[in-house]
Subunit: 328 residues, 2 copies
């Protein structure tokens, strides 16, 4: 099942079911008004939406209309939790190697994750607004899951059963604010502005065999100003699968329905696959030639992030955002 | 105006207006179903609730009933954002001094804050459940504000205008998990389990002169197993006021209605006032005698946190929680 949320002037938008090929949509009116409503009562509501989804895919939904990702908010325009992992250790290794630091041994057993802000997500084609380009504006192409309720102390395997939906993420980062902020010791705050999500959230069965072992075995493409800069494989090099990430958070607390858990920047050891964030390209340049060459993003730059299924069709639709100055 | 949320089996509970003396309550039915609903549309809804509040205080509300804090969830049982400051620098100084570390000069100009989990808050009398007492279970007595919408790049003064409500907080902390977690560099996750809130959220006008310069000038009492261990002053030594904390978060992003911003552990230079968290008592013991003596909390321990107004009545009602083992 594929789902999206349309802008309707309200804070939570309006839930719609989207056809598998992303061409048609149908309001979920009468079944569930919002994505959070669905997640709050998944077992009761989702079968009804699955029926509507089947009808829509068969071309038999009476009030179907053309699906337009530009009308979408994030699938959850605001959420009660957003935690993001850094599950591709190759990314951590590269960034550390570039600044001459070691990766602590514990990083290979204990996931690195941070608690993000979730009150104000960006839709897939919303401008990403920043007051300064001096902050080191960078995209981060990722995948994420949305969970149901997760009990405290859950195991990684059980945690996987709580995965309700998958999404595409652009975890905007302000690279030049990170060193000072992390040096304070309490994690990210200003360095992680509003996160953007792909237009469509999908149930894991939509990925068929590509959803395996708690990982998404598909290629994630990042196009920066129209140029393909990364075609990274999201599956095999994800050092911790989503069940492990969820269980890490659940060690000392419950997770409640609608929690979003991200993978972190998708990264591969094979540099020829390109990059899912500029910081990694700069790390590679530093390792190769002593200094970074690629600049961070400027106003007017565009970033397009998309993931195609084994059949070649877009799974989530595309994130396609422009970097814009703050209007005051 | 005083407001609370009652347990009704739903995830967001039921909004009620509470009389100033905390004896009576009245459902907000027909005006707003939930606290978030109120915050989403504050300017339209709050005047209607203020009318009901006046009627309730006059003893003329026809369907008033006895207010019972044990029936309360947190005022927001789940929220879209919870960020907590460490705005009492005395606390930071003590904890650092105990481990022989300096406070960086920047800490006096740039607030220390962390992004917390907000999907699962505890009510004022809910058990605080932990799987192990080896984790170093500690309370943290704080105050917090709930904001309306805050634009990106707001000034500290403007940020103060966005304060809608004040609340009492118990920011549970797992002290023995903190060093390893912070060493990883991405901030708190497992070391900050579900946070608890006092039964009643109040509008700033309820504090009269005690709400001044973005600070709450009242005494915060912490009673551990019935013994008063702290009577700390929340006002004068708050190094950054709430407008500064909000503006710090808003530097690179908007805050959306219902964001909760905490003060951090209330702490005074005068040690005779006691402590608002055990870690601080242990820091003082370490400074005085080379080692901590006071142990962290055990199963069955109780913590009661309350703040009285200048008239001697409880402002928010009391947080009164028991530490309990995880039942598996």
């Amino acid at each position: 099942m594929k789902l999206a949320t349309l802008k309707d002037g309200s804070r939570d938008g309006q839930l719609v079911v989207v056809s598998r090929d992303l061409t048609q949509a149908h309001h979920a009116t009468g079944i569930a008004g919002t994505m959070q409503h669905l997640l709050d009562d998944w077992n009761f509501i989702s079968p009804q939406l699955e029926d509507l989804y089947a009808t829509l895919n068969d071309g038999k939904a009476r009030h179907a209309f053309a699906f337009d990702p530009r009308q979408c908010t994030a699938p959850l325009p605001r959420a009660f939790q957003w935690v993001d992992g850094s599950a591709y250790l190759n990314h951590v290794e590269l960034v550390r190697k570039a600044r001459g630091a070691e990766v602590p041994a514990s990083f290979y057993e204990d996931p690195l994750m941070y608690q993000g802000g979730s009150d104000d997500f960006l839709g897939p084609t919303d401008d990403a607004v920043f007051a300064s380009t001096d902050w080191g504006i960078d995209f981060e192409s990722e995948v994420a899951v949305v969970t149901g309720d997760v009990p405290m102390g859950t195991s990684p395997d059980s945690a996987l059963d709580s995965v309700r939906l998958l999404m595409l993420v652009n975890d905007w980062s302000l690279r030049n604010l990170i060193p000072a902020e992390l040096a304070k010791g309490f994690g990210f705050l200003q360095a992680k502005p509003a996160t953007a999500f792909g237009p469509v959230a999908v149930t894991p069965d939509e990925l068929r065999d590509a959803w395996q072992g708690g990982r998404v075995h598909l290629t994630l493409e990042s196009r920066w100003n129209g140029r393909s800069v990364g075609r990274t494989e999201a599956g095999p090099e994800m050092s911790f699968h989503f069940g492990q990430l969820i269980a890490h958070v659940a060690r000392t607390r419950r997770l409640r329905a609608g929690s979003i858990v991200g993978s972190g920047t998708v990264s591969n050891k094979d540099w020829s696959r390109g990059y899912s964030c500029i910081a990694e390209k700069r790390a590679i340049e530093t390792i190769e030639s002593g200094a970074p060459k690629t600049e961070f993003m400027r106003y007017g730059d565009r970033i397009r992030i998309e993931m195609k299924g084994t059949d070649g069709t877009s799974v989530f639709g595309a994130i396609d955002q422009r970097v814009a100055p703050l209007q005051t």
